[in-house]
């Protein structure tokens, strides 16, 4: 399951990533590390990006990026 499948307001745990090295480094420094918890706060309409809470910060991820983050429900 990736982040796009998560319902608004739900907490999930990051388990893995797809995608290239550069993307993984970028996400890692924003707090998307295996084991960390993420909450989907809301999604923008018209197939827009996701607003996420991770490590006490709010991060906006486009749908393409979000689909690369593999998660599981807690």
């Amino acid at each position: 399951m990736n982040l796009l499948n998560v319902k608004n307001g739900k907490w999930v745990r990051v388990t893995n990533f797809r995608g290239g090295r550069g993307m993984q480094r970028r996400l890692a420094q924003l707090g998307f590390l295996p084991g960390n918890k993420v909450r989907v706060i809301r999604a923008a309409p018209f197939h827009g990006p996701l607003l996420l809470e991770v490590e006490g910060r709010e991060i906006v991820l486009g749908r393409g990026v979000a689909s690369h983050i593999i998660v599981e429900y807690i």
Partner: protein
């Protein structure tokens, strides 16, 4: 002595920098406002030191050009002390960078900024205890109010003098032994940062540093890969994650020891996003806010323009009559007055409210919300939501807008957004739109031009994307919390740009206006007009407007201010038809970016991109202006 300000995006480095250096850097409640470093000399306790403001970076991984600047600067320049600024409300995340910086082998002071924000959230931070735990000076700070700034600099100066290098925190055994081994095996070469930092960077797979180390120590690459393989084998995870997870563990433990969560005094501010980012109301608010912004500019500007223009017209008449001489002199005087009045009556009345409104929206944190709401739309142009940052800055000035494309990771996105950004009417072109179109044809016509402009940009983006498909990873952006802007930072920001107009652009406008008067007197302008005749003919404009269009390439305001000279009157309504005003303005909005913009495109993206973008803008300008004529032909 050189001190460097380093911190994560939007932690208030530039606010601090401006507190000590006078207003020299752009600030904003917007991650990525600073994209390159700024150096300045400041006085600390009677001693002159050099202070550097570096772009915000989450870590020293250098994942985009703006972040890379920080690591490159640390490696290339001798820094006597680092002032690490962190946001008190994001302590754990901030400490990750602190831990990384402590490895660099430079004296470091930690300034915990936004203490007021933290106490509002009920967060108590024990700075003294953190100082004991890390072995570096830790100071509380509220940069926007100037609190704790002096103490921070005093401490920074002290540790720089003492050359007190901090003891880095230890990782768990596996990583620690890999780091130690790499450190020992790197026999050759002097490194400007500590060997420990280099070893960690090698484990994190930094391509640049790996190349450098391999160059100095052939065969090193195999040792590095050996370690990476062992580490991955043991935990089935990438080394870069292991290092990051380790730092996170240390930072969390530190944070637990030094913070106490009390009662939070948060208010409606935190519920604001429920409305402003709402799937329906969010867009309604967006339209209302932008319309209010537009009304503010139009209201103030229009109210001031007419009386000011009238005053200068009377002045011109008076002087010309009084002098009662023929020849060059009265022409030059009229030229001077028109240059002065152009700046005062046409540009400033619109520029000041525009900058005030933009500064307010930026500092409050609304611009990132626009990026969130507009991402889907941006995708249709082949860009992702991050491009909204240069787009919005573009309404102020194309130069910083193009520099801000550095926050994008890949080159294709940077070039495409730069190309589209140059077509956004900047504050200079705003004065043409308002001074000409809205003044003579009303606010709706001006609003129409703005919508038409967005439409043309969207279509252009769409067409380009058809030929160069999108392969960008997509939007990654931090959403800042709402902050109430202080009057001081907003006015300072407005003054920063107004000062630039008054001292750099205005003299040029006056000079241009005088030059044109001279050229007119000696009848040279007709030859210049011939140069632009093919375009003015296509647009159905009098040939005399060719010269203002040529001068407009230097400063876009000139295309309006010199228009008065070229047409011999400031009452444009008497000599130009509405159709001509519209097609002229549309052409001015799109054609050739100004010289300063062309230079910055060349510096940022290369010569080829500059010429490509210039050619494209000319093509789009002609098509768009012809299209407006077509609309007039059918509907008016």
């Amino acid at each position: 002595m050189r001190l460097a300000l380093i911190g994560q995006p939007n932690c208030g480095k530039s606010t601090l920098f401006n507190q000590v250096a006078g207003y020299k850097a752009e600030t904003g409640n917007f991650p990525g406002t600073t994209v390159s470093f700024k150096e300045t000399k400041v006085r600390v306790l009677g001693e002159v030191v050099e202070l550097v403001d570096l772009p915000g970076t989450y870590s020293l991984l250098g994942t985009n050009p703006a972040e890379r600047v920080v690591l490159d600067y640390l490696i290339a320049k001798k820094i006597d002390a680092v002032i690490n600024v962190i946001d008190a409300t994001h302590l754990v995340q901030g400490l990750l960078l602190t831990l990384e910086l402590m490895e660099m082998g430079r004296p470091i002071v930690l300034a915990i900024n936004m203490m007021d924000e933290a106490s509002r959230q009920g967060l108590k931070i024990d700075g003294e205890k953190l100082s004991e735990l890390l072995g570096i000076p830790v100071l509380p700070m509220i940069a926007s109010r100037g609190k704790g700034v002096r103490e921070t600099f005093v401490q920074a100066r002290r540790i720089a003098k003492e050359k007190k290098v901090p003891q880095p925190q230890k990782y768990e055994n596996e990583i620690e032994s890999a780091v130690t081994d790499l450190k020992d095996k790197m026999k050759q070469g002097e490194f400007p940062i500590s060997r420990r930092a280099i070893a960690v960077k090698l484990l994190e797979g930094d391509p640049e540093i790996t190349k450098q180390v391999e160059g100095k120590n052939p065969g090193m690459i195999d040792i590095i890969h050996g370690h990476l393989d062992t580490l991955c084998h043991h935990s089935s995870r990438q080394a870069v994650w292991m290092v990051a997870t380790e730092r996170q563990k240390i930072a969390r433990a530190l944070s637990r020891k030094i913070t106490k969560q009390g009662k939070s005094h948060l208010s409606i501010r935190d519920r604001l996003d429920d409305y402003l980012l709402h799937p329906i109301f969010g867009y309604i608010f967006l339209v209302v806010i932008l319309a209010g912004f537009f009304a503010l500019i139009y209201g103030i500007g229009n109210w001031m323009e007419a009386p000011l223009l009238g005053f200068f017209d009377n002045l011109t008449d008076l002087i010309v009559k009084r002098l009662n001489v023929e020849g060059l002199l009265p022409q030059l005087i009229v030229g001077t007055i028109q240059g002065v009045s152009g700046g005062l009556a046409i540009v400033l009345p619109y520029l000041v409210p525009f900058l005030l409104g933009l500064g307010f929206l930026e500092d409050i944190g609304y611009l990132t919300r626009i990026a969130f709401l507009a991402d889907a739309l941006m995708h249709r142009m082949g860009l992702h939501g991050k491009a909204i940052v240069p787009f919005i800055l573009g309404y102020g000035c194309s130069v910083p807008a193009i520099m801000s494309t550095r926050i994008m990771e890949n080159k294709r996105d940077r070039i495409l957004s730069a190309a589209l950004v140059t077509m956004i009417p900047c504050a200079a072109r705003l004065s043409v739109i308002f001074g000409l179109v809205s003044f003579y044809l009303g606010p709706w016509a001006a609003l129409g031009i703005y919508f038409f402009n967005i439409l043309v940009i969207a279509i252009t983006g769409r067409i380009i994307t058809h030929f160069i498909p999108e392969d960008s990873p997509g939007l990654i952006l931090e959403m800042p919390v709402y902050r109430l802007p202080t009057l001081r930072t907003v006015t300072a920001k407005v003054w920063f740009r107004v000062r630039e107009f008054i001292f750099e652009a205005w003299p040029l406008l006056i000079l241009g206006s005088i030059t044109l008067a001279g050229l007119n007197y000696y009848s040279i302008t007709q030859y210049l007009d011939i140069l632009f005749r093919p375009f003015t003919w296509m647009l159905g404009l009098p040939s005399r407007v060719g010269t203002p269009l040529i001068f407009g390439i230097f400063r876009k305001e000139l295309s309006l201010i010199m228009l008065a000279q070229a047409l011999g009157t400031t009452n444009f309504g008497a000599v130009l038809t509405p159709e001509q005003m519209i097609s002229y303005t549309i052409f001015v909005v799109f054609y050739i970016p100004c010289i300063a913009t062309m230079v910055v495109i060349k510096n940022e993206l290369g010569n080829r991109s500059m010429w490509l973008i210039t050619g494209l803008s000319m093509l789009v300008a002609i098509i768009a202006a012809l299209f407006s004529r077509l609309l007039f032909f059918f509907f008016v």
